[in-house]
């Protein structure tokens, strides 16, 4: 399934919350709408049919709407709704959770009195800002953080809150105010796109806020509210709780909101905030900004020479560049203006184990190739590129799946019934009818056993 990474992670966080916390979350229409938007399309269909229906919905109806070939999606959608306690189930019917239903109805039909969608300022701002300014502000704030991480900033250091967050999320290590070092996780973080980066930091922020005795429900309400605000509109602080006002200070540091002064009574959401729960792309991509950061630090872009015998010569004295190379090159000697090293199986494996991919290594070497190498076609020696990719394949030689092996069926019919059911659920990993064996995932096992008890034993 091509679900973007950030969505899965915020969904996972929500699924991990206890039922009581979720019920409090669902009291806000804006939050319900945002959660609705995060669900898969099939779940949208189910929620919408149940939304204005007072009576529970028979499960057989749902079964009849979905084609047999899409049982897997139906199963996934219901599982999602179940794990977030959005639906109530009885033996043969399902209904929407009441709080969730009321809030989502309010979100769609209006009539919300809780101000959960934010309160626009009713007075004119004397220092009004336009969308272009907000975009620039958001980019500047976010890039300040990225530049600080790669150590190419203009010497400006992000606020203490940001530093704490970077440290907590394991992206950097060290003790502020002493200079911090970027970690391997940090390098991977830089290669993600902006939205994934923001969610990574915000989820860490959620974890941290719990330690600071901030109410996770209010934090989430605020984040989801931001996702439904309008870009370019100013909003009043009056509807925010004290916790949310504290949050506003932190979010300002990340560039998610803009305030002219910290004492200002109004705030503007930036594009980083308003696209949080939508599919719309964010303006800048992180790898582009990292590339520009690297290019600027070096003055000229290329400095790496890679030879067919896997030897690497890098004309640089920047500690950052050398640190990056050290991730996947076995460095041997260091001179005043260059380092030499060799790409070996061990050095590449070390990088792969740390989660860096072969493609990332090849891209890095291509982007930073020395002008001298640009004469060659193809740019990088094919032997080396192929070998790096082969080393990656080597690590994936064994594909393993935990689960259960089913055997000893009474007859072919029994095998067919169970194997078909497992296939519909999408839990079937491997089957061989003539041997009378099939393998299902760990998650699917219980359902197969239940099904067996219902269908086959029930017939007797």
């Amino acid at each position: 399934m091509a679900v973007p990474q950030f969505r899965t992670s915020i969904n996972e966080y929500l699924e991990g919350l206890p039922e009581t916390v979720l019920m409090r979350l669902y009291s806000s229409p804006a939050t319900c709408l945002a959660i609705f938007r995060l669900q898969p399309p099939m779940a949208h269909l189910f929620i919408m049919t149940m939304l204005f229906n007072e009576k529970p919905l028979p499960i057989s109806w749902i079964d009849s709407w979905v084609q047999d070939s899409s049982r897997l999606k139906q199963h996934e959608a219901l599982e999602k709704l179940r794990s977030m306690h959005i639906i109530h189930e009885t033996m043969d019917s399902i209904s929407l959770q009441k709080t969730f239903r009321n809030s989502l109805r309010k979100a769609i039909t209006g009539g919300d009195s809780n101000n959960s969608f934010g309160v626009p300022c009713d007075t004119e701002d004397k220092h009004k800002v336009d969308i272009k300014f907000l975009d620039e502000h958001a980019n500047a704030q976010w890039e300040l953080i990225l530049h600080y991480m790669v150590g190419t900033g203009s010497g400006r250091v992000p606020n203490n809150g940001v530093l704490q967050l970077l440290k907590r999320s394991g992206l950097m290590e060290g003790h502020p105010p002493a200079p911090m070092r970027i970690t391997n996780a940090g390098f991977q973080f830089l290669l993600q796109d902006v939205k994934a980066q923001i969610w990574t930091l915000l989820l860490q922020y959620l974890n941290m806020s719990e330690d600071l005795q901030m109410d996770a429900v209010e934090v989430l309400h605020f984040l989801f509210m931001l996702g439904s605000l309008e870009l370019g509109q100013d909003y009043s602080l009056s509807a925010l709780s004290p916790t949310q006002k504290i949050m506003l200070d932190d979010l300002r540091d990340y560039g998610l909101v803009y305030q002219r002064k910290s004492s200002s009574r109004r705030f503007y959401p930036t594009r980083l905030a308003t696209t949080l729960t939508s599919d719309a792309p964010v303006v800048l991509t992180a790898s582009a900004s990292m590339d520009s950061a690297m290019a600027r630090a070096d003055g000229e872009s290329g400095f790496v020479i890679l030879e067919t015998n896997f030897k690497v010569y890098a004309f640089t004295d920047s500690p950052l560049q050398i640190a990056v190379l050290n991730l996947f090159v076995h460095l041997k000697s260091r001179f005043a203006n260059m380092v030499t090293g060799q790409i070996t199986r061990e050095s590449v494996r070390k990088a792969l184990v740390n989660g860096i991919t072969a493609d990332q290594i090849v891209t890095y070497l291509t982007v930073h190739a020395h002008p001298q190498m640009r004469k060659a076609v193809p740019l990088l020696p094919p032997t080396v590129v192929d070998q790096i990719k082969l080393w990656q394949l080597e690590l994936e030689r064994m594909k393993t799946v935990e689960g259960y092996l089913f055997s000893d069926f009474k007859n072919g019919h029994e095998y067919d019934v169970l194997a078909n059911y497992a296939r519909e659920l999408g839990v079937l990993v491997w089957e061989n009818r003539s041997k009378g064996l099939f393998f299902v995932t760990k998650e699917g096992n219980q359902q197969i056993v239940d099904y067996y008890k219902r269908k086959i034993q029930g017939l007797k």
Binding site: R345, K399, E402, G403, L405, V429, N445, V449
Partner: protein, 74 residues
């Protein structure tokens, strides 16, 4: 009544599979079921052990230039 046995399903090349069978031949507690040329089911407690032994065997078959420099005699 069908039987369900807990285990870890492994998909790999025939060459890797034969190495796994080799490991099993020593202790007989690894492989639960030999499905076909590229698939088998192994004991979940042995997965890490098998991966380690496989790595070691494959490392023996590779040329390591760094090692060569340290011991030129070899």
């Amino acid at each position: 009544m069908p039987r369900a046995v807990k285990g870890v399903f492994v998909e790999c090349d025939p060459s890797i599979k034969s190495l796994v069978l080799n490991i099993d031949a020593k202790s007989h507690n690894v492989v639960i079921a030999d499905l076909d040329d590229e698939h088998l089911v192994i004991d979940e407690r042995q997965v890490d052990n098998v991966k380690r032994q496989l790595d070691a065997q494959l490392a023996e078959n590779t040329f390591n230039p760094a090692e060569l420099e340290n011991n030129p005699e070899k």
